[in-house]
Symmetry: C2
Subunit: 406 residues, 2 copies
């Protein structure tokens, strides 16, 4: 199987492929990429180069993606070369272009925040008259981990975002009760499998914790989220994984984002589900029957490890392993630049508060080498939006805000 | 970390290393070896060549082994080059030389079958006078998967084995109630961790099933087996994993074999224990704190997949995955020659009979593509020795018998 991109998602896919006896070839941007470090068949090249993509695909039974950045014409060229790509270019378009996604979901009567394409300040202020401030401005393409999302309180703030000159859409600000994610797999044959719905906890636009299953989520909403995700996968003809990020508000669900690949909201499945999302993606892309998505423990908590200072990771790993021998640590082989996702930890058990404490303590220790970040927010605090983060207005297009997660 | 050998044990160690962010270099005998297919830093060479071993070790923090075949002088040379090797040559000797192992365990008052070195037929008949027929003859070095073990009913049969000209020891034939295995890890720091004791089921000298925890094993014996294994690890100064294969007979335990590496009796730990044996071996060899060895399900069953006919493995995999979405399949990337271990499957749950049926059905299907081998022996039958297998006398030194398992 060929995989475009060689980040941690490709790395963990390679790891799962070893178990299935599947050979993976990755297209890395550099030999030091996370997956390039562990993939025997690494090609270094450019995901925008048709030549490099065709070389990746040559001899592969199928090609899939670690990110959404391959442009449409290049996807077309790959498909014309008669290499099955999963998801197809026509599906992937809706994960690449937020405006196309919103319009298509609208046609499907999938509940979404109200939105409008905006090119001028008047478009934003008109939208605010209808939906109120704050207005969320999103880059139609290329955002991730909160990049490309701005929560604007006023026309002045919106004007500064418009000045970046990127293609934008406006969305109503949703004061959600919780952020959820419904992860499903769909095979070319058409088989579907839905993981338990999880709650994601973001800070500064980056996913910090995933709680599986989503605590306190009414069964009715959990089932609705799974059905919605399976329906979107079928309607958009998604093959492979589909992660649907959702807002839960007043007993309703609104779709926030779509991703068509393994996703941060599913890292907990490596130990916490019978079939990990990475194995599931391989199975789906290779049109093998899907694996059981059930939880293997009553409660699973995943916390991302972000880069902090440039300390001695081996010493930190030593301490974390000594402090919590049952915790599962995953490191991606990435340099620890501040705020970068360099790994994750997973705790399994039955006491949610204890698991969150263990996961957050370990993630904080791996980041800073001291318990600076060890304190866990209470479940109540996590279930509510973080107003400080959600209302910040970064000055640059690359600064994070509180809405997106990869 | 450097690893000598590139079989499936190294392959699964490489897989675990990806999660920990540990880089593994393997010394493979060929680029097509199981681990060589998945290890970015593969060196092809000879495990008996000091040059190749030193090249493997260069730049590694530690070196460990996927097999016991590196000769003593080469181990000495590695250690003199100031590369930590785990286990050390002085420990590994007892996994390489069955006579040395038996003598050392005798000094430690570890219960073993009675034994004697034998060079002439008179040695065997004298031993038989003391201990009775059948007599088990074992090659002192180099046996695995039943190779190098002969159960002899008579002097004539013993004479045929002696004619092979290999260094032998005689052991009393133990009509065991069950074969057990106690897998422990020990770090250079001296920390120990013991996995739940398992029952192993061999057929034709090859491990076919592992039942975790060993069904019906009295707690007293389970604790005794774990203590014994931890004591042996400490006394022999084993670093890394130690698998102690045991006979259970009349409420007593006798040590059959030792292995100082990840072992077939521990493959169930990948999904069935909080810390897999492969991660545990890495942690031990790198002197990191050991992981929790606890079971994560009430009962886990592993069945080896042996090579059968040369059918379409992808089609078989498809059927097995469709039939049992919760089963975990592991394939080693090895060509399916008859009887060769080419993979394993693991089933987790609470009903032992159901899990054994599922695992055996899948392993049989992957082997033959039909349910020829799908029937599961009853637990009672499995707990008793298989007289047909145990009493066979293969004609050649490479033919399997019923005593050893890797």
């Amino acid at each position: 199987m060929g995989m475009v991109g060689a980040g941690q998602l490709a790395r963990m896919t390679c790891q799962a492929a070893i178990g299935l006896g599947v050979r993976v070839r990755v297209l890395a941007s550099a030999a030091t990429d996370s997956a390039a470090q562990v993939c025997v068949d690494t090609r270094v090249g450019d995901h925008r180069s048709i030549e490099d993509l065709l070389a990746l695909a040559s001899g592969c039974d199928a090609v899939t993606f670690d990110h959404e950045h391959v442009p449409g014409p290049q996807l077309d060229a790959l498909e014309k070369a008669a290499v099955p790509i999963h998801p197809s270019g026509s599906a992937l378009r809706y994960a690449q272009d937020k405006l196309a996604m919103r319009r298509r979901l609208g046609e499907l009567d999938v509940p979404c925040p109200r939105f409008a394409p905006v090119t001028r300040l008047a478009d934003v202020t008109n939208f605010a008259e209808r939906c109120g401030w704050p207005v969320v401005l999103k880059a139609a393409r290329g955002g991730y981990d909160g990049k490309g999302v701005w929560v604007c309180e006023s026309a002045e703030q919106a004007a500064r975002v418009l000045a970046h000159g990127v293609s934008l859409l406006a969305e109503e600000y949703v004061a959600f009760d919780a952020e959820l994610a419904a992860l499903v797999a769909r095979s070319p044959f058409g088989q579907g499998a839905a993981y338990p719905v999880v709650q994601t906890v973001q800070r500064d636009g980056i996913c910090r914790e995933v709680l599986a299953p989503a605590p306190g989520l009414p069964l009715r909403l959990a089932r609705a989220a799974q059905s919605l995700a399976l329906r979107i996968a079928a309607e958009l003809d998604v093959t492979g994984l589909l992660a649907v990020e959702l807002f839960q508000i007043d007993g309703r669900l609104l779709v926030n984002e779509l991703a068509m690949r393994p996703h941060n909201c599913g890292h907990w499945t490596i130990e916490g589900a019978r079939t990990s999302q990475f194995e599931q993606h391989l199975r789906a892309v290779l049109d093998l029957p899907l694996g059981a998505p059930e939880l293997v423990a009553p409660q699973v908590v995943m916390a991302n490890v972000l880069g902090g200072d440039d300390g001695d990771m081996l010493a930190r790993l030593h301490h974390v392993m000594a402090a919590d021998p049952a915790l599962k640590v995953h490191l991606y082989g990435k340099r620890a630049t501040p705020g970068r996702k360099i790994g994750h930890v997973t705790a399994l058990g039955s006491d949610l508060a204890e698991l969150r404490d263990r996961a957050a303590s370990a993630a904080g220790y791996l980041r800073w080498g001291n318990p600076k970040e060890a304190a866990t927010p209470s479940p109540a605090a996590a279930a509510a939006p973080d107003p400080a983060a959600a209302r910040s207005l970064p000055d640059s297009a690359s600064a994070p805000s509180a809405r997106d997660a990869t």
